[in-house]
Subunit: 422 residues, 2 copies
């Protein structure tokens, strides 16, 4: 062959390979978006129905201990190796597999947790069953290990997008969270497509995307900048506190309540007693009501954030399921709201910024935090959210909700460290 | 000391160190924001005045060859080692220094290029003199090598933010561009603060942030998704073509026009002749007029993108200064506009998506591309921009405007490759 023919052959092969690869991911992403989007839509509907039922029949709250026993029983029998969201993150970076059974398990146990008023989110469930469905689809398509990781991210982001209606944040979250400082851009195209399709599909099923109306956004002056900075400093310490509290609750349970059935039962009794003492239903479930009230009405009680934190730690570490992110949202929003009123800054705006900052602090995902704030609060308070997020990232240390998360580049110096979070 | 005292000492030191570090960066970021923001504001004003003067007195275009001679002379005498934006990227990753002289040099030569109607952007100039000012500030503050890198990023983002009025995209661009797939989050807080301050400061000086009004955004149906996908596929090939064209123009000049004075003079004559032949002023300068017309009015001539590409390559590789990104914007916008009308998709929307996609293709920075599109076009067409950007990223290969850019993770597989771009 002449040199020209060799070159032609080279480019031809190159382009052909690119196009085949592209089409493969297009098909897989569309499939993931439809399947995961559909499943997540049903999940979101069920969670909504469970919450509505609980609101109407508050006595189900007394069933919390028994729901806990059932959840522990299911996991003991069917999924004793299940490690929650953390396991999904670990599988993005390793050869581990996500067992398919974890999808229905997390679905059911999150539903039970919400129905009986445990303080837990739902995004952990979405991430886990999305990742598990994605992994399963990848196995069907006989993908290799690297592509399998992309499929897990793809499933995660589709589920996240469907439940929250935030496709952009969902796609970036899947790429950003496992190894902070490294973006797995190979997953960009499939994650984006799957997220957009999943969120549209869920939308079509009547799952409304969440948005919050932030009113009274003041001009960004130096004084206001410093005030939002103070709120963010508070949020970064709070995010460290939340991570430590979750960890020590775990340790406490392991030391004094070794038997998992006894543990979940005792925890549920403590939660019920605390709730009776506080005399409010506000801390049941994900805490969406707290968020809405803090952001849209600028209303929160001074200790809402503390109680939500304690009740979430008690619930989640006892064996209930659902995730810590939405509770983290409500902790940030209620704290931000209170801090804002104290400092004389619009409480609704501070609540929104606090929510984004706390999310960033506990997940170490600043880009996702930015995108979430645009998708949930709109674009007008953007400078405030950016300040809060970047301060919270740089002051929240190496703490995280996920013990297998790694921080690849130092938070303090532009250098490689590759350390696990605490 | 007892164990408690040791622990206390440890935490005390840790927190003190964190706070000192935080305050150090706050002060440096504010300073960078003010100094770079002020200088960039003046720069933007001057570029605006030069463009207005050229529009009013079109005969200055005939001075293009002489402006070129002057620029080459200045660089031969004062900055023969100057490597443009690429050099700034290289210094983020290495121990190289940016010479301070490069700031006034790039300022003046970009101004001359715009005044006499060369086809060039201005962001290259901003990035370079911002980086150079940041580096100089870091030297004043006696920072170590790692912090010096952060100061370069900080200066780059402040300048970018001041010139375009897009603080978010600016901050992320500085962290994303040098090593694609790695985010230098240690720079997040300083870059964000410097960008916000610089853009506010420039705003106060009367430099208006650019925004484009995208009208007629249709519902995202499957058909429209496929159409925007086709536009993006076109843009990704176009971005490869643009990079190759720039490279071969360089090679051509080096082969046939070795003497830099002769080169710039001959190139200017070709540019003048081509412009006379095409009988339009539209390709002079950055091409903002082409962008506005394409996005807001949905108007572009079929070959606008090709001529802008050729004239930019001829101008920039001959020795003129300013940058290739804004020309890339106008190439993407005009192509998107034409492709949109052919496919029956809103030409303004396609133009906006094409602009973001081409930017992503030539810089390999998808997150920056997303943020730029929100900041310039608003939030309503977001799904379209996301599709276009992610397709363009995955199909544009390892080509780049900057030869020292590295792609750390493969575009096709979730694995480490660490390869230089072409």
């Amino acid at each position: 062959m002449s040199r020209k023919e060799v070159l032609f052959q080279y480019y031809y092969e190159h382009i052909r390979h690119n196009i085949v690869n592209f089409l493969k991911w297009l098909v897989l992403a569309v499939l993931t978006g439809l399947i995961v989007g559909g499943a997540s839509g049903i999940f979101a509907k069920c969670i909504g129905a469970a919450t509505a039922y609980r609101d109407a029949h508050i006595r189900v709250f007394l069933l919390l201990p028994f729901a806990g026993l059932l959840i522990v029983f299911l996991y003991q029998k069917l999924g004793s190796q299940d490690g929650g969201t953390n396991q999904v993150l670990a599988t993005i970076k390793s050869k581990d597999k996500i067992p398919f059974i974890s999808a229905p398990l997390i679905f059911l146990s999150t539903l039970l947790t919400h129905l009986t008023g445990g303080s837990a989110g739902r995004e952990g469930a979405s991430i886990q069953f999305g990742g598990s469905l994605g992994s399963w689809l990848g196995k069907m398509a006989k993908l290799d290990e690297f592509d399998q990781h992309v499929m897990i991210m793809c499933g995660m982001s589709a589920a996240f997008a469907a439940v929250f209606g935030t496709p952009m944040a969902a796609a970036v979250f899947a790429m950003e969270v496992a190894s902070v400082g490294v973006m797995y851009y190979a997953a960009l195209f499939p994650c984006m497509i799957a997220s957009i399709i999943a969120s549209r599909f869920a939308d079509g099923m009547g799952v409304n995307p969440e948005t919050f109306l932030v009113v009274k956004i003041p001009e960004l002056t130096i004084a206001n900048g410093l005030k939002i900075g103070l709120v963010a400093v508070g949020c970064s310490f709070l995010s460290i506190l939340f991570c430590i509290l979750l960890k020590y609750t775990s340790k406490f349970y392991q030391k004094y309540l070794k038997n998992p059935y006894l543990r979940v039962f005792a925890a549920a009794c403590i939660i019920i007693a605390l709730t009776a003492l506080l005399n409010t239903r506000d801390y049941m479930g994900a805490g969406g009501n707290l968020i809405t009230r803090a952001i849209e009405e600028g209303q929160a009680r001074p200790l809402d954030f503390l109680w939500k934190m304690i009740l979430t730690a008690l619930t989640m570490r006892a064996g209930y399921r659902g995730g810590e992110i939405v509770p983290a949202f409500s902790i940030g929003a209620t704290f931000g709201c209170v801090a804002g009123s104290l400092l004389g800054l619009s409480p609704g705006l501070s609540a929104a910024a606090g929510m984004a900052a706390l999310f960033c602090g506990v997940t170490n995902c600043p880009i996702t935090a930015m995108l979430i704030s645009f998708e949930l609060f709109g674009f007008s308070g953007v400078a405030y959210y950016l300040i809060a997020i970047s301060i919270s990232y740089s002051l929240s240390g190496y703490y995280s909700l996920y013990k297998d998360q790694t921080i690849i580049y130092s938070k303090y110096k532009a250098r490689y460290i590759n350390r696990k979070t605490q």
